[in-house]
């Protein structure tokens, strides 16, 4: 983009597995990564045996709407599940239960430092099984593990509002932060618990409207790789556009070794999934009152919390945002800070001690007191009275005349003995570094 003739037009599709206790349409345990062996978390429903029927997971629907509300989406009061047909061995029904024209959420937005990214829609569907290609007894075989089959999966689709690779990365990270904060998804990228896709095209600077083509970057499992892939793709497309060449509609992957995108599948013909409403699942209806109630019970969002802490406790936002990932963690910190404030402890210093890992974060509510005590102890260390310390050391040295001699002979282990004596005699928890420095000074005198 040296001459800035073209600008990036990019929309993203992010899939995330919800961490509900059971799968989307059956009672099987939703824990594909923790399963003891393949196909152990399966039943007639997620194996699509003849006669088996799906029943929708209420929690998964509520969580999808929760995310939608947190992203400022509108919620469809009448929604439904549709069958999306395609053939693949990891899809046992021959169709995926998804949502076609009436997703649970639509028209939301997520703010990035590089501009607003509008959310086009969020819908709920089921994940597929996992194919494993192996060699068994010298023969190439493909195996299917259905532990992941039927795990609730949300898809968050943006408008083409992303205009730089950096913004794509920030969008992805912010979205992951929110999903983790709401405690609805672990977003484990390595295991495929969160999957990124970007639709990339370029248009001449100054023009608006969508370009007539796009390439799809798919199966990329880190934000960094996504950023690199978009960067590469922009350069590749720009070269072609300048040369007057046509850019093929295709699905591309990212080769981390060669640092290049590569073609996975050309997309000349639009696929026909033969969507129709799943007759096994009654439509899902909500009243506005139910949605309002869900909105009211939504936890305070991370940016709001950080802002509030700055006002209430003078905690620097850069510290505040580093202290928690989930709403539960933020809740515990809230108790910690208010309790600390009541005890007249400097909350801003407490927060920075937490960020610098001088004391550890409270894991549960009952840890709050201990954290405050740890901080106070840490605080007393900072207040070492050097004159008093020096007097103590001098006294110990005169009580133990051989020590100084030993030290000058090179027996450095006497240091440890002296440190222990100082701590014992003073009866305080002193900063070891300060004690050590003072002892060394006295020994060298």
């Amino acid at each position: 983009m040296t001459d800035n003739k073209y600008e990036l037009v990019c929309g993203m599709e992010v899939h995330a597995e919800l961490k509900t206790a059971s799968k989307m349409f059956c009672g099987c345990k939703n824990d594909p990564f923790g399963a003891e062996k393949p196909n152990s978390h399966t039943c007639p429903v997620c194996l699509a045996l003849p006669g088996a029927l799906p029943v929708a997971n209420k929690k998964a629907i509520e969580w999808t709407i929760k995310l939608g509300l947190a992203l400022g989406c509108k919620i469809n009061l009448f929604s439904k599940f549709d069958r999306k047909h395609y053939f693949y061995p990891d899809l046992p029904k021959g169709y995926q239960i998804s949502q076609y024209d009436l997703p649970f959420c639509y028209d939301g937005k997520l703010e990035t430092s590089l501009g607003t990214v509008r959310i086009h829609r969020i819908h709920l569907e089921e994940d597929t099984g996992k194919l494993l290609h192996k060699k068994i007894n010298g023969e190439d075989v493909s195996l299917i593990d259905f532990n992941r089959g039927g795990v609730p999966l949300i898809e968050i689709v943006t408008e083409a509002d992303i205009h730089s690779p950096e913004q794509a990365k920030e969008y992805g990270k912010k979205l992951r932060e929110l999903l983790r904060y709401l405690e609805i998804s672990d977003c484990d990228m390595d295991q495929g618990g969160m999957r990124l896709e970007a639709n990339v095209s370029l248009r001449p600077v100054g023009e608006s409207g969508l370009p007539s083509y796009k390439t799809e970057l798919k199966n990329i499992n880190s934000f960094k790789f996504m950023e690199q892939a978009i960067n590469f793709e922009m350069k590749r497309q720009e070269k072609k556009l300048i040369a007057g060449e046509e850019i093929q509609q295709e699905t591309l992957g990212w080769n981390t070794t060669t640092q290049e995108t590569f073609s996975q599948r050309s997309k000349e013909e639009a696929e026909d999934y033969r969507y129709f409403p799943d007759p096994d699942l009654p439509p899902v209806r909500f009243t506005q009152a139910q949605i309002d109630e869900m909105k009211a019970s939504l936890p305070e969002l991370p940016t709001q919390i950080v802002k509030r802490w700055e006002g209430e406790y003078q905690i620097e936002p850069r510290f505040g945002s580093k202290l928690f990932n989930t709403a539960s963690e933020a809740n515990i910190l809230d108790s910690l800070f208010s309790s600390a404030k009541n005890k007249k402890v400097a909350v801003d210093k407490l927060a920075s001690a937490l960020v610098n890992k001088q004391i550890s974060l409270p894991i549960v509510e009952s840890d709050v007191e201990k954290t405050i005590n740890d901080f106070s102890a840490l605080h007393s260390v900072e207040d070492v009275d050097t004159v008093e310390l020096k007097t103590t050391i001098e006294k110990i040295l005169s009580d133990n005349p051989d020590v100084k001699e030993k030290y000058s002979r090179g027996e450095k282990q006497v240091l440890g003995f002296l440190m222990g004596q100082v701590m014992r005699v003073s009866g305080k928890k002193l900063d070891p570094a300060a004690v050590r420095a003072t002892i060394l000074l006295s020994l060298e005198e």
């Binding site: 003849p50 029927l53 029943v55 047909h85 033969r274 129709f276 007759p279 009654p282």
Partner: protein, 466 residues
């Protein structure tokens, strides 16, 4: 000495469910003897009639319950642990489900014994039981004729006294039409009244399992056991259902009956007998009149499109990867339906076909809503004709739709209905049936009317056993 009388005077396989329950409860006979009588009868006739695809070889004991280990024949699209489940398709030949249908669990918990699995049109696609991949079933009343379908095996099992009672499934006529052709009682409950869990899906939005029985009373008894909410079927009705056998032996005087479709062409064979049945209901005190409904020909279009679309989707799971037999084992009828359904759902065509069909379906629902403002029940012939000769289904790909035409309007609306036999031709020994339809969730009304009609006539040979 009573026991002696029964084993010599009466064939135990001919007992109605009600009579069998009574005799076993009173220890006059044992369930094992009744099962053995049915097994003996199966061995006698099955080679010729091809009713059962699999069956018990010796009596077994079930858990305690009101069904007292009495033998029940089950359509082979219903998953059972004790027998293979094939839906009469070679694709599933030899398949043994690792789980059983909710209705099978209920029947077993009530003390029922699954006697065997009955033949059907492959995947329940048909109205003849001729399209079974395991050979056609013949009509026990007259083996030159078809039993109807798709629950032809279950209807033939009841008609041939190879069981005490049977279970069928209906999408549009698949219980009532074979019941009519075999001269037995067939009850199709409201869609959602009986769980579909564990039944190989045909058309998911209309599939309804129900009893096929010797008497209306027997059908009501088994429906009481089969019905009710199932957490495994999201479309099953969570509401408590009434005790259906409470609707027996009730007067119908003063109630209103609308007679449908009598003016249609092609009903010549059956029309006089429906008029005669109307007269009997009138004699029982009901107010009967001709009523005008939407032309059922439109229902054929709606049903054909919606059902083919759902079939093409429901059969997508038989990928050839998992059940041993690949997709080349699909019969011609299944292939036809998969192609038609796939076409109807194609991009650009779904609006034209599938969505239009859904709109017309809604029109039918409104039409019935209007009719039920005036009438308690609606009656018509169950089938336009007597049982057709063997081979008839092969001559027309729309054979089933025409045979089921009178059932399709109410079926696409999910309404309950019952077939009760109204006439037996003494020359051919073939039957005609009356179809009684009620508003959704009012199975009690079809039972009340069916029972009243049955008891006002004397032809039901089984009732004489009671």
């Amino acid at each position: 000495m009573l026991y002696q009388e029964f084993s010599t005077m009466t064939d135990l396989n001919k007992l109605t469910l009600k009579k069998a329950q009574k005799l076993v409860a009173e220890k006059e006979v044992t369930a094992a003897e009744i099962q053995q009588a049915c097994i003996d009868k199966i061995k006698e006739v099955n080679g010729k009639l091809n009713i059962f695809l699999s069956h018990l070889d010796a009596p077994v004991t079930a858990s305690e319950g009101s069904l007292h280990s009495l033998p029940i024949a089950v359509k082979d699209n219903v998953c059972t642990l004790d027998f293979p489940t094939t839906a009469s398709s070679k694709v599933l030949e030899g398949y043994r489900p690792p789980y059983e249908a909710s209705i099978i669990r209920k029947v077993k918990e009530a003390g029922g014994v699954i006697l065997g699995k009955t033949n059907l049109d492959a995947w329940a696609h048909g109205s003849s039981t001729e399209t079974s991949d395991f050979g056609r079933t013949l009509n026990p009343r007259n083996p030159d004729h078809l039993p109807g379908g798709s629950s032809g095996g279950s209807a033939a099992a009841v008609a041939s006294d190879t069981c005490i009672i049977a279970i069928g499934t209906e999408t549009a006529g698949s219980i009532r039409q074979p019941s009519a052709w075999c001269g037995v009682v067939g009850l199709k409950p409201t869609y959602g009244r009986v769980s579909r869990y564990g039944i190989a899906a045909m058309a998911s939005s209309t599939d309804s399992p129900g009893p096929i029985a010797k008497t209306v009373e027997d059908a009501a008894t088994l429906l009481d056991i089969m019905a009710g909410h199932d957490p495994f079927d999201a479309t099953s009705n969570p509401a408590e259902h009434p005790v259906f056998s409470n609707s027996l032996n009730k007067k119908i005087s003063g109630m209103k009956v609308g007679v449908l479709y009598q003016d249609l062409e092609g009903l010549e064979e059956v029309r006089p007998y429906i008029d005669a049945a109307s007269k009997i209901l009138e004699d029982l005190g009901a107010e009967v009149e001709y009523a005008q409904a939407l032309d059922p020909h439109y229902a054929i279009s709606v049903y054909t499109i919606a059902q083919r679309a759902e079939v093409s989707s429901n059969l997508a799971r038989y990928t050839g990867i998992r059940y041993g037999n690949d997709r080349s084992h699909f019969g011609d009828e299944a292939k036809r339906r998969i192609m038609l359904g796939t076409h109807a759902l194609r991009k650009g065509y779904a609006d034209k076909y599938y969505l239009t069909a859904q709109k017309v379906r809604a029109k039918f629902a409104l039409d019935f809503e209007e009719l039920f403002k005036k009438y308690d029940v609606l009656i018509s012939a169950s089938s336009p004709t007597f049982a057709q000769k063997i081979g008839a289904s092969e001559s027309s790909s729309m054979f089933g739709e025409l045979a089921d035409m009178l059932q399709e309007p109410s079926s696409i609306c999910g309404l309950p209905g019952i077939n009760v036999p109204v006439f037996r031709d003494p020359e051919t020994n073939l039957f005609l049936g009356l179809n009684i339809v009620a508003p959704a969730w009012r199975e009690d009304l079809v039972i009340q009317f069916g029972d009243a009609y049955e008891k006002a006539t004397s032809w039901n040979s089984w009732r004489n056993n009671d």
